[in-house]
């Protein structure tokens, strides 16, 4: 599969198996990214589904893979923020993951992040400020460029570069605190 581009093309031509392939390729990373906003894996799963629904309804056109993935994550971020605002407006408390949901989350992370060192990095990232966690997730785990991350996060490229720099420093300190090697971060 070519990063979803041919699957998406097939979906636009009416082949729904292309849509299933897109979900298979992008869902888990998207859920973990959205979870960094909403702090609930079940809510993140619902929101990720909403992102795919929007993709199917709007059917945006893309010429390259990066803008396709950027679009998905930008919509994911927006829907996550909308969800938080709605919770706040209604005075509802963000639901805490149950034991089963926490197990789901751990499994999802284990499936998505195969490398043990990356799992340690991910674990340390979760202890950082949410904004640091979000930008590091995009750059290190989803392999976005700063320009793409800026599009997703609705920031200037310069702001994202600064944010990455600060987030990287915070991550090194966190890894060091946890006794992990932080070379090449």
């Amino acid at each position: 599969m070519d990063n979803g581009a041919s699957s998406y093309r097939r979906f636009l031509e009416g082949d729904e198996s292309g849509f299933v392939e897109i979900v298979r390729e992008y869902r888990d990373g998207l859920i973990l990214y959205i979870d960094s906003f909403v702090g609930s894996i079940s809510a993140a799963e619902d929101i990720a589904e909403d992102v795919f629904v929007k993709l199917g309804i709007k059917k945006p056109r893309f010429s390259e893979r990066s803008s396709f993935k950027t679009w998905l994550y930008a919509i994911g971020r927006r829907l996550a923020l909308d969800w938080l605002r709605k919770q706040k407006r209604r005075g509802e408390i963000v639901p805490i993951d149950s034991c089963a949901e926490l197990a789901d989350k751990q499994q999802l992370e284990a499936d998505h992040i195969r490398d043990e060192r990356n799992r340690a990095v991910r674990s340390a990232m979760k202890r950082l400020r949410p904004e640091y966690e979000q930008v590091l997730w995009l750059i290190y785990f989803e392999e976005f460029s700063c320009k793409e991350a800026a599009e997703v996060m609705k920031k200037s490229v310069h702001s994202v570069e600064m944010l990455v720099s600060r987030a990287r420093q915070a991550l090194k300190e966190q890894l060091s605190k946890e006794g992990h090697d932080h070379e090449n971060i």
Partner: protein, 245 residues
Amino acid sequence: MKTYEETAASALTRIHEHQRKKKRIVAAGGAALAAAAVLGIVLIPRLGSGEHIPQSSEAPVSESRPQSVTSHIDHGKQEPSAQPAESAAENDLAENSSEVQNNERYDIYISTDRNPSSEEREKRTLISSYPVNRAEDWPVPGKGECFLSYGLESAIGDYGGGYIYQVLVEMWDGNEPVRSRDAMLVEADRLYREGGITTAVEEITYPDGGKKNQLYLLAEDQQVLDFPASDKYGYILSLYNDNST
């Protein structure tokens, strides 16, 4: 957690349902226009506020769902500034939160009857401005892409449903903004047909005689969030009085 296939099946069901609903809206819109034509009813939302009263305004379509805006704006009933978007528990949201300086909100009356002389009207508040203290730094939207300004995104996040948002639509064709009135009228018609959104194209005349056309919407929050972008243009949506010149 659902399997990938379950997630995809659930999403596809919702997509199909949306498409069915859209077809119904288009069919209902067509029937409504036909009825209006028979009755000789022309509904033109002449809107404007504050310093941005347009020199002329034209509404190629003027229906939003079964209701239609019959253009009564009570400028005397401007409400106090809305509450600022409050800080959220989460940093990114907090950064996006906006410091409201001077929101513009007006009461408008929406006819709930097709007869313009009908007394049946529903009062709604029109949101046309939500200044935020951060710069807009959008890239040019690619075809089929639609960006919401921070002000509009913040306003919808803060107020949500039940309001009418007056939204300016910037259309881009590649790296060039679309300025043609004809193109805007075609797009206004399409937005009405596909999204059931009330639209208008207005011509602004400047003191030096220069003219400019602009397309705007009167839409509910969900209509803005589900903006039916076409593959022909890229779009930037912002609140009318935050961007109108």
